[in-house]
């Protein structure tokens, strides 16, 4: 199958704002100027249904940005909004996948995936249907009754994604979910993420330090500066919605990655030199 690489139709222009950060800053520690200014002020406007990645050097506040949007952290200044409502605690309809293994070791894969649904009052038949779907979708069918300790890191991360997926979130936030996985597994997980994104029509925000991952997966990539993190560039990739990891052989993939690196190189140097 050849991948059509025509730029996306103009649908993005009319897409509405799904989630938004306005002037968000986050300072850790005392606010009298001696605290660590980790982030911002940043503005971010996620369009409904887009795949947006954030890349930046270590410690630039990428994860903090996600925490603020997820309602897991309060901004020091500025506002976070989801579907027009101010974010206060994790909003309904938002799902988060963390970098660390967050599977519940005391539950089987199936019970892990069903965890959120079982406490949300969904009836048993519907739970079974959605869990079957998510387990099948993430390739976990053969491991349904296994416990996380019996699975590899990649498999456990699939469990976490499936557990988020069954809740049918409209906004999926991923905080370096493949950071702990090897390169091949990461590419394949990237494919699954794209498939998931297409099927669910969810908006996706992916935090990553892997430029190739950002270039391959995203509609738009936000490049952040060294601390305090600010957006220094937002890049439109122009990939079609129907894409997979094979686009890495397309010339534009190389161009995009090179462009991202050019933007990031100076910032990464700053981080390395500890300024």
């Amino acid at each position: 199958m050849s991948v059509a690489l025509a730029p996306k139709p103009q649908e993005t222009a009319m897409a509405d704002h799904h989630a938004r950060l306005t002037g968000v800053t986050r300072v850790f520690g005392p606010r009298n100027g001696t605290g660590v200014h980790a982030l911002g002020p940043v503005d971010l406007d996620l369009r409904r249904g887009e795949f947006f990645s954030v890349v930046g050097p270590s410690g630039c506040g990428k994860s903090t940005l996600l925490d603020v949007l997820a309602g897991l952290a309060k901004p020091t200044a500025g506002t976070a909004e989801f579907e027009g409502q101010p974010v206060d605690g994790v909003p309904a309809g938002v799902g988060v996948v963390f970098q660390e293994d967050a599977s519940f070791p005391w539950l089987s894969v199936r019970d892990n995936v069903a965890f959120g649904l079982r406490r949300s009052g969904v009836d048993a038949a519907e739970i079974a249907r959605r869990v079957d779907y998510a387990v099948g979708f993430m390739g976990l069918k053969a491991f349904e009754n296994a416990f996380p300790a019996q699975l590899s890191g990649g498999m456990r991360q699939r469990v976490c994604i499936a557990r988020t997926l069954v809740m049918q979130p409209r906004l999926i936030l991923l905080d370096e979910p493949f950071g702990a996985l090897d390169q091949q597994t990461r590419l394949l997980m990237g494919d699954e993420l794209l498939r998931l994104w297409r099927e669910t029509n969810a908006t996706v925000l992916l935090i990553t330090h892997a430029l190739d991952e950002a270039a391959m997966l995203s509609d738009r990539v936000g490049v952040m500066s060294a601390r305090p993190g600010l957006f220094i560039d937002v890049l439109d990739t122009g990939w079609p919605r129907d894409r997979d990891s094979r686009i890495v052989s397309h010339p534009r993939f190389g161009e995009l990655t090179a462009h991202l690196w050019e933007k990031l190189r100076a910032e990464s140097l700053k981080h390395m030199r500890g300024s």
Partner: protein
């Protein structure tokens, strides 16, 4: 998962062989007269004595008293120790002040306080349970603190993502996440409760297996004394093996 079932493990066979060898050696030593019967009776005679005393029912009440005291002490130590652990975990300044005391707690020979407990509770189960609980509770407090410390922060974040209330989070996330560590506390509490109860019965009781052993000893009744000792050894082994099965199950899920 553990590589194989423990029963199939060569180490298990070797361990059983060592025990069997030691028992056989003692049997031979006693039968040959190398060890006088006034000191140790042969293991086969211990078994015979145990069977007799169980069948005769003479010690039924002592056995019931000891085991119910152990059960009650262990249960109290687990419940109170868990509660105190949770409270200390929630109050870091208090914990910081108390933790060094907990760490050196087992340097204090708790049994020396027995006169105090006799004054407080009189001779009998009350004083025995007090000593046993005092002996067992700190193991449970320490295990609870350790378990709560080891809950991965990402699980707490996950609970927030699922928008769980604190009570629900405690029950559905914190408790199962800490369970393998809590269970270590349960195991230790049971062991300490046994030690506390049986040892206390020697000094401050008129009933119980410990009392019965002391009574048999004072009357030169070696046969009964060893039969009762065997009873305790077997009971402790059985209970500990059962707890171990649960423990191994919990630990195998923990390995990440």
């Amino acid at each position: 998962m553990a590589a194989s079932h423990p029963a199939l493990n060569p180490a298990t066979w070797i361990r059983l062989a060592v025990i069997a060898g030691a028992v056989a050696a003692l049997e031979i030593a006693c039968r040959m007269g190398w060890v006088p019967m006034t000191i140790v009776i042969p293991p086969s005679a211990m078994v015979g004595s145990l069977v007799e005393l169980l069948l005769s029912g003479t010690y039924g009440r002592d056995i019931a008293v000891s085991f119910s005291n152990v059960a009650l002490s262990a249960a109290l130590a687990v419940v109170l120790g868990f509660a105190i652990g949770v409270i200390l975990h929630a109050l870091p300044p208090v914990r910081g002040a108390v933790e060094p005391l907990l760490a050196s707690y087992y340097a204090v020979p708790t049994f020396m306080f027995y006169p105090v407990f006799i004054i407080l509770f009189g001779v009998g189960s009350g004083a025995i349970i007090a000593i046993a609980v005092l002996l067992a509770i700190v193991a449970m407090i320490t295990a609870t603190l350790n378990g709560l410390d080891r809950i991965p922060p990402v699980l707490t974040k996950t609970a927030r993502m699922f928008r769980m209330h604190p009570a629900e989070r405690a029950l559905k996330i914190s408790l199962p996440a800490a369970m393998p560590y809590l269970f270590t506390g349960v195991k230790l509490s049971v062991a300490y409760a046994f030690i506390g109860v049986i040892a206390s019965e020697f000094i401050l009781s008129g009933a119980g297996i410990g009392y019965a052993i002391a009574y048999a000893y004072n009357n030169f009744n070696n046969r009964t004394m060893y039969g009762l000792m065997l009873l305790i050894v077997l009971a402790v082994t059985l209970i500990n093996s059962a707890l171990d099965v649960v423990d191994r199950r919990l630990q195998s899920r923990l390995r990440r």
